[in-house]
Each structure stands twice: as C-alpha cells, then as structure tokens.
C-alpha cells in the first residue's frame, strides 16, 4: 500500500504503476459530465479555469447531499468513459490524476503517457464507505450545477487502485487476461 499527498508532480505521477494500491491524502476536486463540458469549453476559448487544477487530481463523482452534521453523503465514482472526449484537453492543461471507474479510450491513454498522468479507480458502488474518508467538502465552482458542481474535498487515506499508469499499462485489460477462460 502506497501513500501519496496532493498535488502531484509529473515525476510522482510517473512513479505510480498499474495495480498499485494507493491511499490519497490532501485536496482533490470533483467534476463530472456537466463540469467537464464547461472546463473543456473554457480551455478551448483560452480562458483560465475558475479553479486551478494544474497538478491536481479530479474525482468523477456526484455525491449525495450531506445529512445535517455530516460532511457529505454517499460519494463513490461514476463511469469515467463519459469524460473521455474532454480529458486530453484537461491533461494538456496540467491535470495529473483522475479517479473514476471503468474503461478509458485510446485518446485518454495517449494523453496520459504524453503529459504524465495517472488514472485511479475507486470501488464503484461503495459510496457510503468512501464518504467516510472525506473530511471536508466545499463547492468552489459552478454552484448552479448542484451535485455536478466542482467541490473541493479534503480526503484522508482515500483508497484507490492505479488502473492505468503513465506508461499506458491497463489493469482492466491485464486483469481480464489473467482470469479469462476459453471454451
């Protein structure tokens, strides 16, 4: 089990290898479909983003609302593939890590190799457990998007696995190969 702190430098990201189990501590940012669309459009227009995401990790999540006295509701990963069309642009901009679940396309993997970024997965459907590792949550951009707004999260020992590393090794493909049975 490795422990890392955010933000990530390129050399930190390049050190992480497919299959590594990692505990993340520090600040991460949430962003899913609607926020990605806005980020992408802002980058295309050459504008600065409302939050500085250079060197940061983005978590693809739309959390449940917090109950009174709690930090956040259930908060597990959403399917990453929907963010694929926007991702090469965010990596070029300087994002260093992504947390989600599920497969990525070749465009994302190539951009990860080029800019030195890592794709982590958290366990999908374990949102109640994952929420326990989130110590603070605050909306920092696009508040009109509700659950899809960009939140700044303070996490402690947030458990993830390196699914695709900066060399392009893919645990989804490798893991499957190992357990595939023919016939």
């Amino acid at each position: 089990m490795l422990r890392i702190n955010t933000p990530l430098r390129e050399e930190d990201a390049r050190k992480l290898k497919m299959g590594d189990k990692v505990l993340i501590t520090g600040t991460i940012f949430t962003g899913r479909d609607a926020a990605h669309k806005r980020i992408f459009e802002a980058l295309q227009r050459g504008e600065e983003l409302p939050v500085n995401l250079r060197g940061e990790i983005i978590y693809y999540v739309g959390p449940c609302p917090a109950k009174p006295g709690e930090v956040i509701g259930s908060a597990g990963p959403t399917t990453s593939g929907r963010m694929d069309p926007y991702t090469p642009a965010t990596l070029k901009y300087g994002l260093k890590g992504m947390i989600g679940k599920g497969l990525r396309d070749q465009g994302v993997v190539e951009a990860m190799k080029k800019y030195g970024a890592v794709y982590f997965v958290a366990v999908g459907g374990a949102g109640a457990l994952l929420a326990e590792r989130i110590k603070k949550a605050e909306v920092v951009a696009y508040p009109d998007l509700g659950t899809e707004a960009i939140h700044r999260l303070e996490v402690e020992d947030f458990p993830v696995i390196v699914a695709i590393d900066a060399e392009g090794n893919d645990l989804y493909a490798e893991g499957r190969k190992k357990y595939q049975k023919v016939g």
């Binding site: 109950k67 259930s74 497969l103 326990e132 699914a163 989804y172 499957r176």
Partner: protein, 282 residues
C-alpha cells in the same frame, strides 16, 4: 361490488418510505448472493473488492445512508387490483410527490434531467418512470427500483432473426456483457427479456431484475439457457469492478413472452451489484 378505496396520500406516503428504504437497505437475497460469490472469487483483489462491497452495504444499512451515490431514476411498478378505487387526486402526481419527499428527506441525489436534449436537472428527482398494470383483486402493490446510470447505459436491445435461436440469443447477451466490461460496476445481474415486441422485451428484461437473485426460470429450457449464459459470462474474466476475476455476474434472469412468427426481440438490462428494490402492499 364494493370497491376498496385508497387515498392518494397513502400512495405518496408509501413511495416516500420505499425511496428511502430501497436506497439504504440492500435486499437480503442480494447480500446473500454477494457473500456466496465472494467465496467463489479466485482473484485476491476481487475478494478484497467483495469484502468492501459487503462492508459498504452494511454501513449504509446501519448508518441510514445511501448504498451508492447514484440513487438513480425511480422506476415504479404499480399493480393495481381491479377492485381498487383511487381517490383524492391524481395517481401519477401522488407517485411523484412520494419521490419528491423521499429523495429530499432521505438525502438522496437528484439525478433526473427534464428534457433529454436540454439536460436541466429537475431538482427533485421527479418524474418517476411509472409502469402501471391492472390485476385481479383489491390490493395495490408498489415496487420501487432505483436504477443507476452506470449499468443502465450498458444495456442493449436487438431484434434478432428467429433462425439464430437460443445460441444467437446467448451470444448477444454475452457480447453485451463483454462490451460493458468494468463500466456497470460488476458483479452484475443480467436481466433478459426474450420475445414480445420491442418495448415488451425491454419491460420484461427490467422485471427480470426484480426476481430474487439466482432464482431459476420455471421453464426448463429457459433455466438451462440462464445457467449456460451465466457460466459463459463468468469465463470472460471481467471480474469484480472489471479488474479481473472469476465472478462477473451473480445471476442471469430470463423472462420470455409470446412473439410474432417473424420476430425474436432480445433486451439485456444490466444491473450493478447495488440491486435495489423495495415493495409494499396497500
């Protein structure tokens, strides 16, 4: 004939309660099926994931919180006894009022956009997707099944040609699961509808997901197809969360319906391990 009167406020009340219960309490049969699958999983990482899923479900139950943050679109099945009279207002509005209250009071995520192209969140998780059926008797049976998008998006429907037969159906189911890979949060339950018309196949595929996990079809040839398909799926190697393993699916449930001489519709509705549904009779 004396009709049994049910006031719409009772329906809203029941739906509110079911919205919360279904999102906090994973059904016992699903819990048991996950526990059993965990013992069969060959991959170490896969077994660790199973462990987490079990901890997560029990935490949600005791802490009264959502098992998964995607608390879904509320799919509601109403079986209305033909001797029931609904009084006090609109049935559809009563259902939506229940959803509105349940998703607010239960601190559940609001995941519904009003227009599929304009995509503005309705803010209260309404409207529900409502399926109403008139049945004999004087009961009103309400089933609420929140459906998350991760698995719904990996579902598929195809109008096959009758010549391909059971083998063709099996191949289509396996291809659908294969393509889905880790996206629908495996281990999954595969709901299949064979026959009917296009929309009927889809509807019975969804209903197949309401069956207790692993319960076989009463039709012998269909039960055999369920078993063979499950076995083939678990050879794909996708495994828990798609990271490799010997358990990709917990069960395959197939429902069938009569169909046209020229048709063989097949719908595959994929359900993640957070297989939520709760019901109540009024």
């Amino acid at each position: 004939m004396i009709l049994k009167e049910i006031h719409v406020s009772q329906i809203s009340q029941a739906i509110e309660e079911l919205s919360i219960r279904s999102n906090y309490d994973l059904p016992e049969d699903v819990v048991a099926s996950i526990a059993e699958a965990a013992r069969k999983e060959e991959s170490d990482l896969g077994r660790e994931i199973f462990q987490l899923l079990q901890e997560n479900a029990s935490l949600a139950r005791t802490k009264r919180t959502a098992i998964c943050q995607d608390t879904g679109v509320a799919v509601v099945f109403l079986e209305v006894g033909q001797e029931v009279r609904i009084v006090g207002g609109s049935l559809t509005e009563a259902v939506n009022e229940g959803i509105r209250r349940g998703y607010a009071h239960g601190y559940l995520r609001k995941s519904v956009v009003g227009d599929p192209l304009l995509r503005k969140n309705t803010g209260d998780n309404t409207p529900a997707v409502l399926h109403t059926e008139i049945v004999p008797g004087d009961d009103l049976r309400i089933i609420l099944a929140p459906k998350g998008a991760g698995s719904e998006n990996m579902s598929a429907l195809k109008m096959l040609t009758p010549a391909v037969g059971a083998e063709g159906v099996k191949k289509f189911i396996i291809d659908t699961v294969d393509k889905a890979g880790g996206n629908p949060c495996p281990p999954i339950i595969v709901g299949v509808g064979i026959g009917g018309t296009m929309e009927q196949a889809a509807l019975i595929a969804k209903k197949a997901l309401l069956r207790p996990v692993g319960q076989r079809s009463p039709l012998e040839h269909v039960a055999r197809l369920e078993e063979e398909t499950l076995e083939a799926i678990n050879k794909l190697g996708i495994g828990p969360q798609g990271l490799g393993g010997s358990v990709t699916a917990l069960a395959v449930h197939i429902e069938t319906y009569t169909t046209h001489i020229a048709c063989l519709p097949v719908a595959v509705n994929i359900q993640c391990h957070v297989a939520r549904h709760a019901e109540k009779r009024l």
